[in-house]
């Protein structure tokens, strides 16, 4: 039995279709990240799971039970919000215990649960304070505590780290990962931050324009993007996309004379003369010359940006652009003509008409 099952969920606001048929099934203990840019429908989907919005059509099942028309409080879920959403005039202790208080859990039992949760989140010393006296990170811990204490079947997180500064976000991310590995509960987590998605998720659903572009493990999403959108969205710097055409077993890169051999695994998938988009990750590129086994492209280096651990190098290949993340010791200089080399395995081919991977 799935912990959470979403079947053909659609949502219309007037004539605007924000969700266009979403299907997801989650096993117990999975950490699903809904990843996408703003307006893709990820928060709407989360609200539908929570019961804060109604699906126009489709079904949502939590623990095998359909929750259509079920009040949020009876769905056996807990939610953590981006703005923390703490009750400003209640102490931390009452904030965490609020859900239990509303469910008329006896005070002694409630108090014990609140203390255990606070200990888990290392906020025992804050229990008597009001939210106004806490820092952003502490507030977020309280918000997480309020969800944890109820021990629900599914946790819902709505961009919980977006309001934190960069350093704290990193800390809380690790903390969330630790908590999930310890508690093994089912989580649905909404974010537009691909690093959060990659690090936290057991599976990622990349959403775009009301649809799921790809649902897979972080490894699948990163290494085998199903569409051009996923390829471009996940990864920073983004995957390079070169327009090319298939010519007699070679890929002719548009705007140059450069040719690279069509990898064997694509030989049957693409026909001769077809237009393709060649995708290659910046970290798959190295500064040439490489060995004979490598493929290479002649480039002229345009911009070199040292970020610390690497140099982000932008180069021109004919009229198109390529970005490579090179090690800092690589001797790349502006204006230099050289070659970027890579393994045949690193190439991904997409159909420019449908945007789908070959």
């Amino acid at each position: 039995m799935s912990a959470l099952e979403i079947r053909d969920v659609r949502k219309n606001y007037g004539s605007v279709e924000t969700l266009k048929g979403i299907d997801i099934a989650l096993e117990n203990g999975e950490f699903l990240v809904l990843l996408g840019s703003s307006g893709c429908g990820k928060s709407t989907l989360l609200n539908i799971i929570a019961g804060l919005a109604e699906a126009t059509t489709g079904d949502v099942k939590i623990g095998g039970r359909s929750v259509l028309g079920v009040h949020p409080k009876n769905r056996d879920i807990a939610m953590v919000f981006q703005s923390y959403a703490l009750y400003p005039n209640l102490t931390v202790s009452r904030n965490i215990g609020f859900g239990l208080e509303m469910r008329k859990v006896p005070a002694a039992e409630r108090d014990k649960a609140v203390r255990e949760t606070a200990k888990l989140l290392q906020i025992e010393n804050l229990l008597d304070r009001k939210p106004g006296q806490l820092s952003g990170g502490q507030r977020q811990r309280v918000a997480i505590g309020r969800a944890l204490v109820r021990k629900p079947q599914v946790f819902l997180f709505d961009e919980p780290l977006s309001n934190l500064d960069a350093k704290l976000r990193l800390e809380m991310r690790t903390e969330l990962k630790r908590l999930h590995e310890m508690l093994r509960t089912t989580v649905v987590y909404v974010t537009h931050d691909q690093i959060e998605a990659m690090t936290l998720a057991t599976r990622i659903a990349v959403m775009h324009d009301g649809r799921i572009e790809q649902l897979g493990t972080p490894e699948e999403i990163y290494n085998h993007p199903a569409t051009l959108y996923v390829a471009g969205f996940v990864g920073a710097p983004a995957m390079n996309m070169l327009e090319a055409a298939v010519e007699d077993g070679k890929l002719a890169i548009a705007g140059t004379d450069a040719r690279v051999t069509l990898p064997q695994r694509y030989a049957s998938a693409v026909r001769n003369g077809a237009s393709v988009v060649v995708g290659i990750r910046p970290e798959a590129l190295r500064l040439g010359p490489g060995s004979d086994a490598d493929m290479s492209l002649p480039v002229e280096i345009d911009v070199v940006e040292l970020t610390g651990p690497e140099q982000v190098t932008t180069a021109r290949v004919g009229t198109q652009r390529l970005t490579a993340t090179l090690p800092p010791q690589a001797r790349a200089a502006k204006g230099q003509s050289c070659a970027f080399v890579f393994d045949a395995d690193a190439l991904r081919l997409f159909d420019p008409a449908t945007g789908k991977a070959f």
Partner: protein, 294 residues
Amino acid sequence: MSGTWMTTRAWLLMLPLLVVMVAVIGWPLADTVRLSFTDAQLVGTAGNYVGFDNYTKMLTSSNFTRTLVTTTWFAVISVAAEMVIGVLAALLLNQEFRGRAVLRGLMILPWALPTVVNATLWRLIYNPEYGALNAALTQLHLIDDYRSWLGEPGTALAALIVADCWKNFPLVALIALAALQAVPRDITAAALVDGAGPFNRFRFVILPYLAGPLMVALVLRTIEAFKVFDIIWVMTRGGPANSTRSLSILVYQEAFSFQRAGSGASLALIVTLLVTVLAVAYAALVRKTAGSAT
């Protein structure tokens, strides 16, 4: 530029305003204080110094005590009712429904009407011969005969309070409605997921955001209600049998109807002092509420 020149310049720039303020506020106030220690009449004698006689006479008169009680009743009951009705109206108008914008606009109407119009309107409603209230109540068989709502000491104050509420609840509703817009959607959603019902959502989620603005409305309304003059003057002139006489009306009667400028002035200053005490106490309360609501 030296500090003293900056200070001098600041004072110079403020001087015109200070002159005007002294002329229109300071001087009349000072003259009222002077008058209050004399037995001056409105017309004729300039009056002789009588010390605190006017004050002791006014404070110990049964008229003053009775009027203070009437005014307090009026202020407490009408303000309390306005707060409750105002908040309820705001909660209703914060729901999503068709025609909400129109209703929000309509609601402001009673408050936007001049008090005299409002008071005249309610006088018509309460009219003992052809008033709408009598007609409605007899048709509903709640009363047998038409009554003179404003003519009976037992009902006149209540009738006035209803009219005042009708006029002033929109102000409270407007302030509360504005405050409701500031309640974060996330917190309401969190309370829903936490299982809080409508009452607990109001108490724990909405009220903390309403408290500060409502306190301001409470201060404004209480002070105004304590000073009430116009609505009563138009509807009952303080009658019948002085049952609706407010402090402001008493001041008016003393100073202008009986032409006793001296004792009228002392009474006016006593009322001013009472209202100031209220204002200061409330200001402290507002600061406290604002401080705890973050």
